[in-house]
Amino acid sequence: MLNIADSAAAAVELIHDGACVMIGGFGVAGQPVELIDALIEHGAKDLTVVNNNAGNGDVGLAKLIQLGRVQKIICSFPRQSDSWHFDEKYRAGEIELEVVPQGNLAERIRAAGAGIGAFFTPTGYGTSLAEGKEVRELDGKHQVLEYPIHADFSLTKAYRADKAGNLVYRKTARNFGPIMAAAATHSIVQVSDIVERGQIDPEVVVTPGIYVDTVVQINRPQQQDPREEGAA
């Protein structure tokens, strides 16, 4: 049953030390800024974080890394002009890194939510990221066996939820939200708006409520200007 939390702090309170936490967003779009801030306040440590990047500047995921709370990061693009906190921890051997091609990252997250035990994908074949992995020729292409990425929690951002937990997103802020909510045992979503059941057209629901455990309404979410973030 949907838990509607009173605050971002209450929404993240179950996150435990050692948890695997997926964090949505691609650049600033879809970044659950207030939930990440709440996780920073919360104090959980030894986290494994799944995100497309490895933090920017001195806030959000970068701050969590700076504080030494992230033990491992699984992402596609950790190296950005302003990912200095990750850089520092990585070079000091204080954070483990698993780099995954972005499409394989997305498909592995999707597989976790969809109950697929493993799949063959052509992406990455013959590259250093597929070293040691099982390879088969299928449909005339060499393909690499990849495994699902499950998580204990996901922190994502959607535009609107109804009280059944159904979600809709805005534009390219949709990105990892739907697949991360499905891949996590406990999904936590910040939304700008919570409406009654029946207020979202069933034809346009992107994430059905079955995938949503906790929502919290953040009326005016912080959002950086996209230009202030490094490219990737």
């Binding site: 600033v28 499409g103 997305a106 994908t121 697949i179």
Partner: protein, 219 residues
């Protein structure tokens, strides 16, 4: 040797983008990589009916957004704000990369550090031992589209050819590149053979001397 020299000077990135744009078939679905390839969109006209894909979840991506158009929820893969076009659509990351991996894009244009005559591409990692690896969507883009075009200067700043016999940098994709657009000429790759379709600011013979790969003139 019947290779046409189609310019009296090496092409600027803008001129080269125009050459690439001319080769994209009308009605095509295309992904333009970050950097030089992005310029190609400036030379696609409405009549071309080309639909741009951005791997962060959109088909029908429009031009860069300015001023009041900027919406933090609408950015491209380079994290630049963009606008919608009529008939665009949004989808999540797994659907977006399924679209790419499933071979639905007609063409993908990418930058490169190196391409070799087998069509192997190196564009994600310089191979420096202390560099932090970061791949993003590069490997997915390299292998997913029906055709992968590379767009680059033929030479590095130090004057070395980026078209090589065998890539020495870490690979992004194996045998995936079918065509290379450079400031000095356009190269077609097939079965390990490199054919020069046209040259810019240089003759075929002179070009052949500058590249350590056997070049065949186009008939």
């Amino acid at each position: 040797m019947s290779v046409p020299q189609n310019s009296d000077h090496p092409l600027s990135p803008e001129e080269l983008a125009e050459v690439v744009a001319r080769d994209i078939p009308a009605g095509a679905y295309v992904n333009l990589g970050i950097g030089q390839p992005t310029l190609v969109s400036n030379y696609l006209s409405a009549e071309d009916d080309v639909t741009l894909h951005t791997e962060n979840g959109m088909l029908g991506m429009g031009a860069e957004a300015h001023g009041d158009e900027v919406d933090p929820d609408l950015i491209n893969a380079g994290k630049i704000p963009v606008v919608e076009t009529e008939g665009c659509s949004y989808f999540h990351h797994a659907d977006s990369f399924a679209m790419m991996r499933g071979g639905h894009l007609d063409c993908c244009v990418l930058g490169a550090f190196q391409v070799d005559q087998q069509g192997n591409l190196a564009n994600w990692h310089t191979g420096k031992p202390d560099a932090i690896p970061a791949v993003g969507g590069a490997m997915d883009l390299a292998t997913g589209a029906k055709q992968t075009f590379v767009m680059m200067t033929l030479k590095t700043k130090k004057g070395q050819s980026k078209l090589v016999k065998e890539c020495t940098m870490p690979l992004t994709g194996v045998g995936c590149v079918s065509r290379i657009y450079t400031d000095l000429g356009v190269f077609l790759l097939e079965d390990g053979k490199v054919t020069v379709r046209e040259t810019f600011g240089v003759g075929f013979d002179e070009l052949a001397q500058q590249v350590d790969v056997e070049l065949t003139p186009a008939r």
